[in-house]
Amino acid sequence: MTGTLVNTTVNGDAVQFACPTDESLMDALRDRVGLTGVKEGCGTGDCGACSITLDGELVCSCLVLGVEANGRNIGTVEGLADGDKLHPLQEQFINHAALQCGICTPGFLVAAKALLDKNKNPTEEEIRYALAGNLCRCTGYDKIVRAVQAASKDLRKKK
């Protein structure tokens, strides 16, 4: 492999990796940084399983080149919890049985957090549209939406 060196911040930590220029950030995070919480469902931006934040913006990491991440701030599911304390979204996903197989869960959590960061009290419809880029084949989304509603309530109470 001929690689280009990329310096980034991942979940608050400085991370350096080398990857071919045509490699997606998803592949780089999974194969070179070891963050396999970033999942590949399609590789073409249609399923959202590889969702991350790039400088705070929600993106599919399969549609970003690894080299584009140079100097950028990356957030993944591995960075959601605060030490040993789970994020309210993580807690409510467990409490509400909002996951079955769990492969889509990291992407949903990252996308739901991006939503709640922008909109503290989203309606059911806003939640459903904000999460439309994340496919889940197990749950019919019912319990996922309920978990996000509950987490949104928790987060508002905290403030």
Binding site: M1, G37, K39, G41, L80, F93, I103, L135, G140, V145
Partner: protein, 751 residues
């Protein structure tokens, strides 16, 4: 020790409560490891070369240039694989790797293992294949016509008399039923006859097939793989590659959805073969495009349904001719569909005939209650037409004819206690049925049946010195079964839920377990867990008796502790599981319980669904407004996850009913092999899905458990079909009811 599997109606302390799943934290933190998440030192990357043709002869296949490319460590074609000509596994192997012919767009032709993806990609381009294109057929009705291109030349239709002398794409005709339908139709006041079509759909699990294979020259191998049945994968892979089963250790990763699609092998035997050839670990991960083209979707179908009824609603006869395509390899899906078609009803005269047909499409695999949703679409749509013709409420027509205990099922046997009647009554009484509909909205309902089954199961319980318990399971957890099994284990032992840690064992740590399919996981592993726990309890009673120095007959097990019975033992304070565990070393060593069982007697399952839709008459676009699932669970161990199964099945059915379909071009190639144009429902497409769990105990399970995983996908096609037909004012007979199909139907009805 044999255990009695009869239902005992015991009172539960834990079973039935909503507990958090033991793998929850791993799954919300990204720590859980799925098929593509494992790596090994020195691993190679495998990529597959696949056919661009629907049907072609492989004239020449030259891999020499690829083999010479630096970084390429192994190339495999069918010539490198054991020859299973005339063997039982030939079809399986040929589907994994084409031999002299490619049979569908996406059929694997060769595979390479190289040091990285870039090199593997380059190597694929260096493989030269020359094809001679052959005529192809992808539509089930076309494939049955005389003169249709033959998918295989060695198939002679079975199930017809006399035996045919000419080959055909119809591999099998299967007839079920009883009575005399001609007499039945003669007695009818109204006869409705209608033809239907359903398109091919995919399970659509979000995790592509993935594995990490490692085989050494000593014949020892390991396979880390996403699968519903790692024991089955071991059996099949070992047979295909001539390996010793005991030397192939298969570990099931966390599985990112299966729904039947991960019950068969696809890339795994080839990954093992590449590893064996290269003597290095090989990682193989399918792309989404490959998943659609070259894994195992369910059938597309075509069928003719005929139902006759008296004016009072008594059905006098039902007949179904259903044609299912099995892809390019023999299957039994049409047969299965024929068995389920009329299973909800108590019919005096019924006949269903299933045809299994070959086409140039990928080999069909199971998809959640395989074959049942399509047949239910035909029958349940026709039921609504009958109700309309005799002026009866569709739900009353169903209630009047519902099967019950003692009914002879349309597929043969006599039913025991079953839940179709109760789910229909619950649907009739549900507030959803009385909710007001607005303009362009319509309501539909339908019911559905699935067999469920059990199968071979093997479970271990090991009690640690501190009183915590390892529950070792061999059935892959596809929907949260570790939580259910932990609940059952804790219930039996009388300890808290969080004192149990459930693990899914690899194939070298436990005896054979059948694949998690047929809604068998909770039914059969639940049964084995109960029996294993009871054996552990017997052992703990022995240990307590020893400690107290009394006969074991004077020890009973109550609420997680051994108690000495009888007045003379009054001075003996109970010994808890923890106490006994702590003293295990001194009382005979480790304490374990074990059970192996063939869990037969899975209770059949029924569901009724109600659905409201709104159809835009100018665009044919459909929205689901409200959806209710009512299903018999036998006993809901963990209701959260039973609801999850109901909701998930309904959502898959909704996708199938409205938008999901394989679209083939005239060239026989799949045009929509991706999540962009294979449209599974997204979050904003669906409302909350209401559920109602009925519990009609299965007499053949100590807890009354029936499988719950599959039935929920059976009614939606028909429920939505009936709702859309009511909303649009025109009968929909072709699934998916996509906007162009609905608009066309509306326009044809107006014209």
């Amino acid at each position: 020790m044999t255990h009695d599997q009869s239902f005992t109606n015991q009172k539960f302390k834990l079973v039935g409560s909503r507990v958090n799943r033991p793998d929850g934290v791993d799954k919300v933190t990204g720590r859980a490891k799925y098929g593509a998440d494992a790596s090994a030192a020195g691993q190679l990357v495998a990529l597959f070369l696949r056919s661009p043709h629907a049907h072609a002869k492989i004239k020449k296949l030259d891999t020499s240039r690829a083999e010479k490319l630096a970084g390429v460590k192994a190339v495999i074609t069918s010539a490198d694989l054991p020859d299973h000509t005339n063997g039982a596994q030939l079809d399986v192997l040929e589907n994994c790797m084409a031999r002299d012919r490619v049979l569908y767009d996406g059929h694997a032709v060769a595979a390479v293992a190289a040091i990285d993806k870039e090199t593997a990609k380059k190597a694929l381009k260096l493989i030269k294949v020359s094809y001679e294109k052959l005529p192809h057929v992808t539509d089930v009705d076309e494939a049955m016509k005389p003169g249709a291109p033959l998918v295989r030349e060695d198939i002679f239709t079975r199930g017809i008399d006399p035996k045919p002398t000419e080959p055909s794409n119809v591999c099998k005709v299967s007839t079920f039923g009883h009575g005399d339908i001609e007499t039945g139709f003669d007695e009818a006041d109204v006869i409705i006859e209608k033809s239907y079509k359903t398109e091919q759909t995919h399970q659509g699990y979000i995790e592509p097939h993935a594995c990490l294979a490692s085989v050494g020259p000593d014949g020892n191998g390991e396979l880390w793989v996403t699968t519903q049945g790692h024991y089955t994968y071991r059996t099949v892979c070992a047979a295909l590659l001539g390996m010793d089963m005991a030397k192939l250790k298969v570990t099931s990763s966390e599985i990112g959805g299966g729904f039947g699609g991960k019950t068969h092998v696809w890339i795994e035997p080839i990954a093992l073969a590449l590893s064996r050839k290269a003597n290095r670990p090989v990682k193989a991960v399918m792309t989404r495009d490959e998943v659609f083209k070259a894994s195992g979707p369910t059938c597309s179908t075509s069928m003719d349904i005929k139902i006759g009824a008296k004016k009072d609603g008594t059905i006098t006869a039902g007949s179904a001719h259903i044609r299912y395509q099995d892809g390019a390899f023999r299957g039994q899906w049409g047969q299965l569909g024929a068995m389920t078609a009329f299973a909800c009803y108590d019919l005096k005269n019924v006949q269903s005939v299933g045809y299994d047909v070959l086409v140039n499409r990928p080999k069909v695999a199971a998809y959640r209650a395989p074959s049942a949703p399509m047949a239910a679409f035909g029958v349940e749509s026709t039921m609504d037409l009958v109700a309309d013709a005799i002026g009866m409420d569709p739900i009353d027509l169903r209630i009047k004819n519902a099967a019950k205990e003692g009914t002879r099922a349309s597929y043969g046997p006599t039913y025991g206690p079953i839940g179709i009647g109760p789910t229909l009554e619950a649907a009739k009484n549900h507030p959803h049925m009385r909710a007001k509909l607005k303009k362009n909205q319509g309501r539909g309902m339908a019911c559905g049946f699935w067999f469920n089954f059990g199968g071979q199961t093997c479970t271990d319980i090991n009690i640690s010195a501190d009183g915590t318990v390892n529950l070792t399971l061999g059935t892959v957890d596809v929907g949260g079964s570790r939580a259910s099994m932990s609940l059952i284990c804790a219930e039996e032992l009388g300890i808290p839920y969080d004192q149990v840690k459930a693990n899914v064992a690899d194939t070298s740590s436990l005896g054979h377990n059948d694949t998690t399919e047929g809604s068998r996981g909770t039914f059969s592993s639940g049964m084995a867990t109960i029996f294993a726990a009871r054996e552990a309890i017997e052992e703990m009673k022995e240990r307590a008796a020893q400690t107290w120095d009394i006969p074991v007959e004077e020890v009973e097990w109550v609420e997680g502790e051994a108690r000495a019975i009888g007045q003379k033992n009054d001075n003996l304070p109970p010994l808890t599981l923890k106490d006994i565990a702590a003293r295990a070393a001194a009382t005979g060593g480790p304490i374990a319980g074990h059970n192996e069982v063939v869990a037969d007697g899975a209770g059949v399952s029924f569901a009724s669904h109600i659905c409201d839709v709104e159809v835009d008459p100018e665009t044919g676009g459909t929205r689901i407004i409200r959806y209710t699932v009512i299903q018999d669970a036998g006993k809901a161990i963990n209701p959260d996850y039973v609801e999850g199964q109901f909701q998930g099945g309904a959502a898959q059915g909704i996708g199938w009913a409205l938008n999901e379909e394989y679209i083939y071009g005239d060239d026989g190639r799949l045009q929509n092999a991706g999540f962009l144009d294979y449209r599974i429902p997204v979050c904003s497409d669906l409302p909350f899905i209401d559920t109602e769990i009925l519990e009609i105990p299965n007499p053949n399970h100590p807890y009354g458990i029936r499988g719950v995983g599959e039935t929920s996908i059976v009614p939606p096609l028909a429920a939505i079909g009936n709702a859309v037909s009511n909303a649009a004012g025109v009968r929909m007979t072709h699934v998916p009811m996509s906007p162009p199909r609905i608009l066309q139907a509306i326009e044809e009805a107006e014209a």
